[in-house]
């Protein structure tokens, strides 16, 4: 039989747990951010340590390696300038055509660069914390991406840090378009991709979808959070599910969310 201290302990812990689990959502978010802010000095210290380590390793880089990298970057710079010129011309043409057919003009994306400071300590969620908060103008439900593709959206926003729900987390669904097939679907978490963060599930596709491996998946803009045209990944394979009623596909994400260091937050 359990004696008195156990019963008292169980009663107290049960009351605390029930009280915390039944907090109103806003209060729970604020409590979570308040408790989590205890870690902020440690994250700052760890970030400083990492910067210091990076700088120290920079000092030990050989001159030969630096010169090689400089040459590579110069070549890349020339190519990118050429591409930028072509894109600028295409953009001007696009704007002219939009004016001709009286379409709404696209506003260029405004973004802020953020550093990833922490990851979810639990393996069954896919979230990270970044070092931008409400004082930097970040709000919930803003798209987060890297130059290679979509990463996720902002969740809880604190004063100096923000939780990012990564693509593949059950709370971050993304409306996407398979560009070559013209099919719309929704990206969700995929149960068999627990160990591979780059694989996600594309659902809600019609049963006669003409999906092929390698086709490009990008945001469709239908969900209301993500603007259209952000690359998400490529189709790996597809299968018929629900007794042939609809199709599901696996998508390999363009951005590797397990190796994030800096991300871009698209500002409103």
């Amino acid at each position: 039989m359990l004696n008195k201290p156990y019963w008292i302990g169980f009663a107290v812990v049960l009351v605390v747990t029930l009280a915390l689990l039944n907090l109103p959502e806003q209060v729970s978010r604020k409590a979570r951010l308040a408790v989590g802010s205890l870690f902020v000095p440690l994250f700052g210290l760890a970030g400083f340590g990492q910067t210091l380590a990076d700088r120290t390793s920079d000092l030990t880089a050989s001159r030969r390696a630096l010169l090689d990298e400089l040459a590579t970057l110069r070549r890349e710079n020339v190519e990118l300038r050429l591409q930028a010129l072509q894109h600028a011309e295409a953009l001007r043409e696009n704007e002219r055509l939009r004016e001709l057919v009286a379409w709404q003009r696209q506003t260029p994306w405004k973004h802020k660069v953020a550093r990833v400071i922490a990851r979810d300590p639990e393996d069954w969620w896919r979230t990270v914390w970044i070092d931008l908060g409400s004082r930097d103008g970040v709000q919930p439900d803003l798209p987060v991406l890297t130059p290679t593709g979509l990463v996720g959206r902002t969740g809880d926003v604190g004063l100096t840090r923000t939780q990012v729900l990564l693509v593949g987390d059950p709370k971050c669904r993304v409306a996407v378009l398979v560009r070559e097939a013209g099919e719309n679907g929704v990206i969700t978490a995929f149960s068999t991709s627990v160990l591979d963060h780059r694989l996600v599930d594309l659902t809600n596709l019609p049963r006669q979808s003409a999906l092929r491996p390698g086709q490009t998946v990008q945001t469709s803009g239908l969900g209301g959070i993500f603007p259209p045209g952000i690359p998400v990944g490529t189709i790996v394979d597809s299968r018929s599910v629900g007794f042939g009623l609809y199709t599901e596909a696996r998508v390999k994400m363009a951005a590797d969310t397990s190796r994030l260091r800096e991300v871009l937050v698209l500002m409103p």
Binding site: L2, P5, Y6, G9, F10, V12, V13, L14, V16, T17, A19, L20, L21, L23, S28, A31, R32, L33, V35, G36, L38, F39, L42, F43, A46, I117, A118, R119, D120, P121, E122, D123, W124, W125, R126, T127, W129, G155, Q163, L165, G168, D169, P170, K171, A189, F190, S191, T192, S193, V194, L195, D196, S258, R259
Partner: protein, 183 residues
Amino acid sequence: MNGLRSLILVGFAFAGIFAAAWLEAPRRWLGAQFDVLPALVVVAAMTTNVLTVGILAVSGGVLLDSLSANPLGVSILPLFATGCGLHRAQELVLRDLPYAQVILGVVATAAILLLKLILLLSLGENPIVGWGSLWQFLVTCGWSAALTPLIFRLFDTVAGLLSYRTVEPPTFRPDREILRGRH
């Protein structure tokens, strides 16, 4: 003394949760992150009382949930229930032996993970669980098996450094003294 032990355990929990959130390498290489809380619960259950286990469960659970997407408070009950279960067997377990500590670490991790998962599912949450979770489960248990003996030693060392040293009884026994000369 118990207050100091509670404080040390909460400090370890704070540092361990921070490390689990900050260090990416274990997750990248092994596919699963380590968790120090089960090992700390074992130490608390084997060396302290129920109150300390409760303090560790509440503070550690809330700290973990604050950095995770878990609902706030969901980790408390699994930690406390496991800690109480182990505490009841405190006198029956050879807790100073490393292999016993390893087994306790594995058992505590398995119990905490399963209880937490059951609680999350019963709250209507939708954690990412699949066949790959079995591998993550094994890796997390493996981490705990390695960490528990280390944390036992670290805890003893830190508690020893921060508390008064116990005075050993003198070996001199006045009743056995050989008195020489006239009395």
